[in-house]
Symmetry: C2
Subunit: 154 residues, 2 copies
C-alpha cells in the first residue's frame, strides 16, 4: 500500500522538480529582459510593485504593504512618504483604529502605472517581433498559467 501510493506521488514530484528547474532558469533570464525593458522614471522596483499592488487590491495598510513587498516597516514608511511627495499615493487615517494608516493610489499614480505599462509593452512588442510565430503562440497559450503561478505564490 505504501508502494502503490508512493510511486505516483514521487513521479509527480520528480516531474515538478524538473519543471521547476526549467522555470527557475527561464525566470532568471527573464529578469535581464525585464530590466532592459524598464524605464528611467525614478521609480524603484519596490515602488513600482507597491503601486501595482495598490491598484490590484485597493487601499492597504502600511504594514500589509511592507509584508507583501518583502521590506521592513520603516522602509515602507519612507517609501510611502516619497510616493506621497510625488503625489502617487495618499495616506488616510483609519476611523476604527487611530494607529492605522491606510494607503491609497491616487489618479496620478494610476496614470503613472498606465504610462509605464504602455512603454514597456511597446518595447516588448519589438522583441516579440523577433521570435517565431510558434514561440509567440506558445507564450500566448501560457499566459493563464503564468497568472496562476504568480497567484499561487503566497
Amino acid at each position: 500500500m505504501e508502494l502503490r501510493q508512493a510511486e505516483p506521488t514521487l513521479a509527480a514530484g520528480r516531474a515538478e522538480a524538473a519543471l521547476a528547474g526549467g522555470i527557475a532558469a527561464g525566470l532568471e533570464r527573464l529578469i535581464g529582459l525585464f530590466r532592459s525593458l524598464s524605464l528611467p522614471d525614478g521609480l524603484s522596483l519596490t515602488a513600482a510593485a507597491t503601486l501595482a499592488t495598490l491598484e490590484r487590491s485597493g487601499p492597504r495598510r502600511l504594514t500589509a504593504l511592507a509584508v507583501q513587498e518583502g521590506v521592513t516597516q520603516p522602509a515602507m514608511t519612507q517609501l510611502i512618504a516619497r510616493l506621497q511627495d510625488s503625489g502617487l499615493v495618499s495616506r488616510e487615517a483609519d476611523t476604527q483604529d487611530g494607529r492605522v494608516v491606510q494607503v491609497r493610489l491616487t489618479g496620478q499614480g494610476q496614470e503613472m502605472l498606465a504610462r509605464r505599462r504602455a512603454i514597456r509593452a511597446e518595447r516588448l512588442a519589438a522583441v516579440l517581433a523577433r521570435i517565431s510565430p510558434e514561440d509567440q503562440e506558445a507564450l500566448a497559450a501560457a499566459l493563464p498559467a503564468i497568472d496562476a503561478l504568480a497567484s499561487a505564490a503566497h
Copy 2:
C-alpha cells in the same frame, strides 16, 4: 499591392501588441514571484545576474559586463571588487591590451550559483504543485519560447 501587403502586416502588428500587453503584465507579476523566491545570501540582483552571465558566457571584460547588466562602468568596477573580495570571481590582465581586465567566475562562484538555483527550484516546485496539471503543461510547453524571448532581447 500596398493594400495586400499592408493588411497582414498591420494585423500581425496588432496581434503582437495585444500579446505584448499580456506578456508585460505577466512579467510584472513574475518579478514578484521571483523576488519572493529569492534568498538572503547577500547577493544583489545585479550581482547574481553578473555571476550567471559569467557562467553562461565565460570570462568577460569589465565594460562588457557593465553594458550587459545595464549599470555604469564605475558601478561594475565596484561590484567586481566586492565579488572578488568574496572569492566569487577573479580578475586577470589581458595579454593583448594592458588596459583590459578580464573577469572570470571562480569555482566558489559556481558553487554559489548552483546552491542558489537549487534552493529556488525547490521553492518553485512547491508553488508549481498548487496549480493545475494543464497550467503546468502550458508552462513546460512555453519554456523554449521564454528562452527565445530572453535571447531576442539584445
